[in-house]
């Protein structure tokens, strides 16, 4: 980004930090371009987390469901009940708590340096899974709806937050050894994924030449987001059983879903050399910032999966930044997911499938065949009797 713009952004960041005393640390995450205006994104780490308003909304939703169930029972007594849909939407994956996983940082955006900063809401796993399937430009207004298939739960602010979470998880890297994991988990088995890291005080810079040559000198320091949409896996099957026990009487016994396998992502601080290739392109490109003065150069890493994500390291300093459209590069082309097959209204079987009534000729043929059979049967009976008689 240009010098002037950077200066303005720097001043704006300072203003943000001064106005929000909750922020402990703040850094420029990058810039996302949009069709009508752009977003400048700042990543902040907060000291205390505000109580989520979402909890209240969750309670309200539960109350509504109970009320609906009651009215349903009431109706049943009065009139013939309409067929109830046996469709139960798959249970929602719960959001991660503030300060952990994909919600580890709080993000603020502003359109231009100088305009007030707006806090982005925390991200939910459903939003991440849908964001993985759609491909849309940002328009530059946080409240505009995202028209897409599958429908995105939320407006552009949520979509932006989900993309920021994906980009951070995929492209925030640091030189190996800069961060080290907390040492309390030395004795435990590695079931709980490590989610904390501290700055390693003994870190000595890796030489620039080495950083450019091999990708194993760089590691991810943000947790990978699993298929579920969270960083730590949640077993949904347990919850389903509880629900079933509660509404027992009206429901038929559903087959229990198979135990979903635990999703495991690569642990924190995995080196980049283990990143998978997509469509034969290596996921990262390394460069030196200047070939002529290699003693002073910095090693620059450019992501091929998320065009616009850059990381650089020079001695003990390193930094990540993203300037781009906020979209992943998927290679050949994007095809939106197909809508699900329409549900069958009724199970088809012989009782209700129509069969053609036999025509007159067919009936005659059948009659003749039956007569022949009877005649044969009589002959057999006669011969049997005849034999019996003969024996006697």
């Amino acid at each position: 980004m240009g010098r002037e713009e950077l200066q303005r952004v720097f001043l704006a960041l300072k203003q943000l930090v001064e106005s929000q005393p909750v922020i402990q640390r703040c850094r420029l995450w990058g810039k996302i371009l949009g069709t009508q205006s752009n977003y400048i994104v700042a990543e902040a780490e907060c000291k205390e987390w505000e109580d989520e308003e979402e909890e209240k909304i969750g309670d309200e939703a539960a109350e509504e469901e109970e009320r609906e169930a009651e009215t349903r029972e009431g109706d049943e007594n009065e009139i013939d009940p309409l067929p109830q849909s046996t469709y139960k939407p798959p249970p929602l994956v719960p959001k991660e708590a503030m300060g952990t996983g994909a919600n580890k940082f709080v993000y603020y955006v502003c359109k231009e340096p100088g305009l007030p900063w707006v806090k982005l809401p925390s991200v939910s796993p459903a939003q991440i899974t849908v964001a993985r399937q759609i491909r849309k430009f940002f328009s530059g207004r946080l409240d505009s709806p995202v028209n897409s298939y599958p429908p995105f739960p939320g407006n552009e602010g949520n979509y932006l937050r989900a993309q920021i979470a994906r980009i951070s998880a995929g492209t925030q890297v640091s030189p190996q050894g800069f961060f080290q994991t907390g040492e309390e988990e030395g004795d435990e088995e590695d079931e709980a994924p490590r989610d904390s890291y501290d700055v390693n005080p003994d870190f000595e810079g890796i030489s620039v030449a080495e950083m450019v040559e091999s990708l194993s000198t760089w590691v991810h320091h943000i947790q990978h987001i699993l298929q579920q949409g969270r960083c730590t896996w949640v077993n949904l099957a347990v919850k389903r059983e509880e629900d079933q026990n509660e509404d027992g009487e009206a429901e038929e016994t559903e087959e229990e879903p198979d135990e979903p396998e635990q999703e495991v992502g690569p642990p924190l601080l995995t080196p980049l050399s283990q990143d998978a290739e997509i469509f034969n392109t290596p996921p990262w490109t390394t460069k030196m910032s200047s070939t002529l003065t290699s003693q002073h150069a910095a090693a620059v890493l450019r992501s091929n999966l998320w065009p616009g994500a850059y990381a650089y390291a020079c001695g003990k300093k390193f930094e990540n930044i993203y300037v781009g459209w906020g979209l992943k590069d998927v290679g050949e082309g994007y095809s939106p997911p197909l809508p699900p097959l329409p549900q069958k209204e009724y199970p088809s079987g012989p009782e209700i499938t129509e069969a053609q009534d036999p025509s007159v000729e067919e009936e005659q043929v059948l009659e003749e065949a039956l007569d022949e059979q009877e005649a044969e049967q009589e002959e057999l009976d006669d011969t049997d009797e005849g034999e019996l008689l003969d024996d006697d």
Partner: protein, 273 residues
């Protein structure tokens, strides 16, 4: 963008996220001037960068007398040694569109191969191997980007009575209100649209309105028009070729475009709008 104004125009397009570091800028200043003298170009533009997996290509474009037709493209890896690219002919374009897939590698001698099966009418399968070198792919990509996404403000170029397109030396920039409309920007390529009705034509001026307007592009909305740098610079970004940025400072003749990107056409544009 013009090599004469390189040093400040790069700042103006830096909002898109790509800059050249100081080493590259100084090298470009000198080497573009040398290029101009050697090839006897009227003016030399720094066209942009195409990012490859291993190396990036820096592209320069030299313009002769007729700005629309006399164009020559050159590429370099270090901004100092430049190599001429072949002009993009129709059969070259066909070959590249059949064979080239994936990203630019960064090696001009890399050959893209694709085996095509052609079914003839008598049930025979004929295999055809199409080979294209990366250099040719580069030339064709630059040609496509120029055809589909090069932008100039209305009035910056004039067509003189001989049919030669030249820079308008008395262009003093679009006004603020004109710069906010997409109508005031034109594609810099051979005009494709047929002439409209006579009613529409009376407002047009034949010397300056001989190019196609950007707002006629399908799909609508494939250009993003914004004002940046504290609302002083009008920046147009193409959504079809992600990475193409055009800038214009209103009420001054400064304008130019640059492409820094992968060299991919954005085929998903219709899903993304």
């Amino acid at each position: 963008m013009d090599s004469q104004t390189l040093y400040f125009s790069l700042e103006l397009v830096a909002g898109s996220g790509h800059i050249l570091n100081i080493e590259q800028r100084t090298a470009l200043q000198t080497s573009l001037m040398i290029l101009r003298k050697n090839y006897k170009f009227g003016r030399v533009l720094f066209w942009g960068k195409i990012l490859g997996l291993k190396e990036d290509y820096f592209i320069a474009q030299g313009r002769g007398e007729d700005e629309l037709k006399d164009k020559k493209n050159l590429y370099s890896f270090n901004c100092m040694d430049w190599f001429l690219l072949p002009p993009a002919t129709n059969c070259l374009i066909n070959e590249v569109s059949k064979a080239a897939r994936g990203r630019f590698i960064g090696d001009p001698s890399h050959v893209y191969e694709r085996v095509l099966r052609i079914h003839l009418e008598d049930d025979e399968e004929h295999e055809e191997v199409v080979k294209v070198s990366e250099e040719n792919r580069l030339a064709v990509t630059i040609h496509w980007i120029d055809e589909e996404a090069s932008v100039v403000p209305r009035g910056a170029f004039i067509k003189n009575p001989h049919g030669i397109v030249q820079m308008n030396r008395s262009f003093c920039g679009l006004s603020d209100s004109e710069a906010r409309k997409l109508d005031s920007f034109l594609h810099f390529r051979e005009p494709r649209n047929q002439k409209e009705s006579i009613l529409g034509m009376c407002e047009l001026n034949q010397t300056i309105d001989f190019l196609d307007v950007l707002s006629d592009d399908i799909p609508k909305g494939s250009w993003s028009l914004q004002f940046e740098c504290a609302r002083k610079v009008c920046v147009l970004r193409s959504l079809l070729w992600l990475g193409l940025t055009f800038y214009h400072v209103p009420v001054t003749p400064h304008n130019g475009y640059i492409y820094i990107g992968n060299g991919y056409r954005n085929l998903d544009l219709n899903f993304m709008l």
